[in-house]
Every structure is written in C-alpha cells, then in structure tokens.
C-alpha cells in the first residue's frame, strides 16, 4: 500500500515536472547591447498577408546599415514564418512554442489577443515604443486597442474598415441613377439611410427578383457581429471594472435584427453553415444586394477564382460593381459605425534581443512599409504620415474608405472576450435558424454568459 501511494505521488510529481518543466514563463530578457556577430530575429504571422513579416526583413537591412554606422559589430537577420490554419490554432501554436522556449521574437496577431498574452507573461510591455518618434503620429484611438491594464503591449501594424458592400448593378436595375448610387455612402454617413432602410431596400431587390438574397454576412463567429452592439447604442467593455459588458437592451436589438432578416428570408437559410468560398462566390457573382464584409475582401477576390465568368477580379472591377458604406445607424440621424481589428506586433518575453527588436519595430513603422502592405493587402495605415502618402491616397479602394476610421470601434482585448463573442454568435445562429425566438435566445444567452465568464461579466439591464 505504501509503495503504491509513493508510486502515485512520484507520478504526480513527475507529471507536473514534465508539464511545468516545459514552461519558460520566467525567462529573463537578456539585453543584446553586447551582442556580436549575426543575430537572428524570428518574426511570425498568419494568413496570406505576408508583407507583415516581409517588411521586417527589409527594415532589418536599414537597421544593419545604422548598426554599421554606429560601429557596432552586430548584424540582424530576420527569419520569417507564416502560419496557415485557424486563428485558434495560431494562438495554440504560439503557446506551445513558448512553453518549448522557441517562441518567435516578434509575433504578429490581432489586438484582441493582447489580454491573454499579457496575463500569461508571454509578451513584453512596449510603453517606450509609444514615446518613440516613429510612433508619435499613430491615430490616438489605435493606442486603445493595444492598451491593457494601463500598459502598451503591442505596436500597431495595420487597421482596416468593415464596410457594407452594396451591389451597384442591382441598384441600377432598380432604377437608381449613378448619382444616387454614389451618394448612398454619404446618406449613410449623415444618418439619413438607416439599418431599417437597408432591410427594406434588400426586400425590394429580392421581391423584384433582382437579387437571390438581400443581405449576406460572414458565416462564422468574428468581430463583425460586435459592431451591432455599438450600432444599437450599447457597450461591450467597462474599463473602470475591466469587465466585459453584457448590454441586454443592445444585444436584444442585435438578436432581433438577425431574427428579422432571417424571418424575411433576406439571408440564405443555411448562411451559418456555408463556407467562405460560397460566401465570396455569392457576393462576387451579384447574388446579393448587401454584404457585411471587410475591406481586405478586395484582396481575397483578387486571389481566388470566385467570379463564374472572370475568375479573379481586381480592385478596379470591384469598384465598378460595388460601393462601400458604413453600417447604417439604427435610427434616423444616428451615427453609423464600423469596426476595426488592428493587427499588432507583439514582442515575446523570451526574446534575447529586446533592444534590437524594438529598433526594428520603429523602422518598420515608416510610411513606405505601411503603404506597401496596405496597398497589397487592402488595409489602412496606423500613422497619419502614412495616411497622407500620395500613393496611398491615390488608391481607389482605400481612398474611398479611409474616412471610416472616424467612425471606427474596437472589440475589447480581454482574454475572455472570444468566449463572449462565441456565445453571442451561437444566439445569433439560433435565431437565424428559427430554433429560438430572440426572447428565448436572450434568456439562454444570459445563463451561458454568466456560466462562461463568471466574475468577468457585468450585466447592464
């Protein structure tokens, strides 16, 4: 008996040793002031937008010149990685790499991940970067996206807008003049064209047989759905308490909206089980009047063969056939919204070259790198100087939407926010599929959120 008890205890100790032994949370950052020779800095990103890390390689050339001029015997080499897979897997991969002491020095990610990255001591605070010259003209609102518990944890890399794409061809067939079509974004901006007007217009297009669907939105959970809470006058985050807010009146309106468009058959009845390819094909082939998209979709449509006749379509084609507007205000005269999801560079707390990484991030913030990335992948710059760049201003797509930054909102970067977002998405799915009424979905959602978020939830009645 004694031997078996000892065996179990030994196993426990061994097991915990194995797991905790993998952890390297307390790795101290070694300043590389005395580093010599070639220093390799690993930078990682995910998805198709590889300029996020390729720009760092070019910035490293500049840094090397500077270091040489300073007479230092150190050269920087940037090794880039790009991850192909889901965002969940991207996060998981970073956690495991960190535990194995192999975390990349620079980890590019969505700003909403800052909460758990900071809480888990995975990344270094970057307050000094905020005070640097390179980041002095960042749009002030973007600092909110990288601030967590009073510190700056990431360098803003890019931002974007989530416009509603409207199909100009369908509106033309409905008898709209070119002037009226081009003025729609202005009417939306002034609050003259509301969410309700958008629904009515979608119904009209569909009833006249000019569009198969009135409205299409993303098929899976994502930040887009949160912009409706702001549109209905609600809030998602209480900075004083550092809690996620369940704004019941606004969320009820949010659910009612999706219930209404589903009941009116304006959306495909299996929208939340469609894949992205079908979504893009539906939009690009003119089967829907409105599409809640993202400005980067212009890049996606130029990469994949989504158009039945043309295959890939370029930005010029997109601008001929689609207009882009803000999400209309919920009430006449109200303020329209959009939501940004800034991408940020975070610095691993395991990096051995924090000072060189910081200098690299300052160099990569130069307008030329931002503009190159923004023009290739259809994102918006993070600094005013980059927004003033003539090449950027001349771009037909980006030039049309850069004003949207004035109406932008963000999702909170608390670690539990993805859970909130998933729960709300489930409720939206339930009302869209007709499995629940908005009232029933609200009741279940409250129970679910209380259970999932516990003390981190604040309920606004």
């Amino acid at each position: 008996m004694k031997r078996s008890t000892a065996g179990i205890l030994a196993t426990l100790v061994l097991g915990m040793g194995i797991v905790s032994g993998c952890g390297g949370n307390d790795t101290k950052t070694v300043p590389s002031g005395n580093a010599s020779g070639v220093v390799t800095i690993v930078a990682q990103t995910a998805g198709e937008e590889k300029t996020r890390v390729d720009n760092l390689v070019q910035a490293a050339d500049e840094l090397n010149k500077e270091l040489k001029a300073e007479g230092k015997n150190v050269q920087v080499k940037v090794k880039t990685n790009d991850f192909q897979g889901s965002w969940d897997d991207y996060a998981k991969q970073f956690m495991l790499a960190f535990k194995a002491n192999k975390a990349p020095d620079i980890y590019a990610t969505g700003h909403e991940n800052i909460g758990w990255l900071a809480d888990g001591h995975y990344i270094l605070p970057l307050d000094s970067l905020k005070n640097s010259k390179a980041y002095s003209d960042v749009f002030p609102t973007l600092w909110n996206a990288v601030t967590y518990k009073g510190k700056i944890w990431g360098a803003p890399q890019d931002t974007e807008a989530r416009p509603v794409f409207y199909n100009k061809d369908i509106l033309k067939k409905m008898g709209w003049t070119d002037q009226q079509i081009n003025d729609l974004p202005v009417k939306v901006e002034k609050g003259q064209f509301t969410l309700d007007d958008m629904t009515k217009l979608a119904q009209e297009a569909q009833s006249k047989g000019l569009a198969q669907y009135g409205i299409v939105h993303r098929p899976v959970d994502g930040p887009d759905f949160s912009e409706f809470v702001y549109d209905f006058g609600g809030k998602l985050y209480d900075p004083a308490q550092n809690k996620i807010v369940f704004d019941k009146p606004a969320v009820a309106k949010q659910l009612n909206y999706f219930y209404e468009i589903a009941q009116k058959k304006l959306i495909p009845d299996h929208l939340t089980s469609m894949d992205w390819t079908s979504i893009h094909k539906t939009v690009v082939n003119g089967k829907t009047l409105f599409y809640y998209g993202g400005i980067w979709n212009v890049f996606n449509w130029s990469q994949g063969n989504y158009n039945d006749k043309l295959g890939k379509v370029d930005a010029k084609w997109v601008n001929q056939h689609f207009g882009m507007m803000l999400v209309p205000a919920a009430e006449k005269g109200g303020k329209p919204v959009t939501l940004s999801h800034p991408f940020v560079y975070t610095v691993s707390s395991q990096t051995k070259h924090a000072d060189l990484v910081e200098r690299l991030l300052e160099l990569v913030a130069a307008p030329k790198y931002q503009v190159k990335h923004d023009l290739t992948t259809f994102h918006l710059p993070v600094t005013k100087s980059a927004a003033e760049d003539p090449a950027f201003k001349a771009d037909v797509t980006l030039g049309n939407v850069s004003y949207m930054t004035n109406y932008t909102t963000f999702i909170p970067n608390l670690d539990k926010f993805p859970q909130y977002s998933k729960d709300v998405f489930n409720a939206i799915q339930a009302v869209e599929l007709g499995k629940q009424t908005p009232d029933a979905a609200m009741k279940d959602l409250e129970v679910q959120l209380k259970n999932d978020l516990g003390n981190e939830l604040e309920i606004v009645q």
């Binding site: 196993t11 998981k92 956690m95 089980s273 599929l433």
Partner: protein
C-alpha cells in the same frame, strides 16, 4: 525471496519495456487529466489549483444536458450500426460468399475508409450531404424537381452516426468473420445434412460461435465511441449550435479552442469515469471474466 525473484525476473524483463510504455502513455495522461481537472489552467498555462470549481461550473453548464443526451444518442446508435452491421458484413462475406477470394475482396473494400485519412473520408460525406443542388443527395432531389435540403444543418446527428457507424462496422466485420471462419466445417455440413435453413444456421451455429467476439467488439467500440470525436469535428464541428456536440468534442473545444485547459480536463475526467463505470457494468452483464478465465475443457 531469491526464489521469487528468480521466478519473476524473466517475465519482468520481457514485460518491463511495455509496462513502462503503458505507464507513460496510458496512466500518466489519466493522472495528468485528474490533476489538471482541479486547476483553473487557461491560456496563461499556470497551475492555479481551484478545488472543485471546474466541477461546480460543469454542473451549472447550460449545455451539459444537451451534450449528455447527444453523447448517449451518438454512442448507442453508432454502436448499434458498428456491431450489427459488422455482424451482417461478417456473415455475408464468410457464410453467404463461400469463395474466399471474393469475400476477402469485399472485406478489403470495406476497410478502405478505415485506412484512408479521416479528412478524405469526411470530404466524401460532405459532398454527399452538400446543401447546394450539386451535393449527391440533393442532385437526386433535383432530378425529381425537389428543392435542395440542408442535410447537415437539419439532421447533423444522423449524418454523424451514419458516417461513424459505417466506418466503424469494418472493425466488427474483421473480428466476426475470423470467428465464423473458425467454426469447424463439419458442424455446418452436418447441419446442412439435417436440412437446416440459413436462418437456423445463423441462429444456432454462427451466433453462439461469435458470442465472445460480439461482446468484446461491443465493449471495445463503446469505449472508442465515448472518446472519439474526429469525424464529428470534421463533419459538423458539433453544430449547428450544440446539436451534434458530444462530451469528448466539448472537452476538446473547451481546452483547445477556448483554452480552458482546466475545465476541458474536468470534462475529460468525467468521461474517464463514465468509461470505467460502463466497462464494469458491461463486464458484469456479459460475464467477461469467464472469457478471461482458464479453459474448462482442460
């Protein structure tokens, strides 16, 4: 004592490496899950022990009811297909198809989905159930001028059970067919001489002969089904909503999608408990100790 050591030295030497492997890869994970179940480990991967917090959370989890119901439905019906369809396949390919080469070919074909990667196999099912008019099922409907049906969204559990049941039946098929093959030929011939029909043959000779394999396959498949979720993950990912989410998949989602490693482990720990209880019950019902006991003939 030295005699005892001498007696056990050789068996221990032979079994030692396997014992170590079993300990490392079977016992250690269970122990780790048990320990993790009492922590609040999340994305920061810190060992913060929180007592029974995860289990309290589990009891109040509004999804638990529907997930347990789904798990029961999934395990019961898939098991039914696994065992009975496996038995039918076994009888078909050994008793009704007497020519061994044809029976073997048929069994090999049925094994193909098991040896092909789940992603490929699931892709076929996704094509079969595709909600557009181009899906296999919907193209039949289109032929009859019936609008397409969103099969996976409206009947996710049926799709999951069918996909898992059919691929799982191959395991039972192999075990049963080898058991049927081992029935002495004289027994079958004598029954034929006595004028027994197919049904009597199956009922009185084949079924009693495969009694132990039948119980073993049931128990084995039950345990696998309780913890398997790969086909569900690829086919429906537990949705829409929670309509095809089972306990094992929920544990995966909580641990690896929401990064609630502690809570995910608590769910997995419950699963280990359920598996142990089910094994004990079935062991007793089937009288499996007789199977393991020494032969009474000797």
């Amino acid at each position: 004592m030295p005699a005892l050591i001498r007696k056990w030295k050789f068996p221990f030497l032979m079994l030692g490496p396997f014992m170590i492997l079993i300990f490392l890869f079977f016992f250690l994970p269970v122990i780790l899950i048990a320990v993790l179940a009492f922590t609040g480990m999340d994305s920061s991967m810190q060992w913060t022990f929180n007592g029974l917090e995860n289990f309290k959370h589990l009891v109040s989890d509004p999804n638990l009811g529907v997930i347990l119901k789904n798990t029961c439905l999934y395990v019961f019906f898939t098991l039914l297909i696994n065992v009975f369809f496996g038995l039918i396949l076994g009888i078909l390919t050994t008793y009704f198809i007497q020519k061994e080469s044809i029976g073997l070919l048929f069994r090999t074909l049925w094994m193909l989905p098991r040896i092909s990667p789940p992603v490929v196999y699931v892709l076929l099912w996704l094509w079969f159930f595709d909600p557009s008019q181009y899906g296999v099922l919907n193209s039949f409907r289109a032929f009859l001028h019936v609008p397409p049906e969103k099969w996976l969204a409206s009947n996710p559990m049926t799709a999951v059970i069918l996909a898992n049941g059919l691929v799982g039946a191959s395991y039972g098929m192999i075990i049963f067919s080898s058991a049927i093959k081992s029935i002495p030929g004289e027994l079958i011939q004598a029954a034929r001489v006595d004028g027994a029909f197919h049904w009597a043959m199956i009922q009185d000779i084949i079924i009693p002969a495969v009694r132990w394999p039948l119980m073993f396959v049931t128990l084995w498949q039950l345990l696998s089904l309780l913890t398997s979720y790969d086909y569900i993950l690829l086919l429906t990912n537990g949705g829409p909503l929670y309509s095809s989410e089972v306990l094992a998949l929920y544990s995966y989602h909580k641990a690896f999608e929401n990064f609630q490693y502690g809570y995910g482990s608590a769910l997995a720990f419950i699963l280990v408990g359920i598996a142990l209880v089910m094994t004990t019950i079935l062991w007793k019902i089937f009288g499996m100790n007789k199977l393991m006991g020494s032969s009474r003939i000797e």
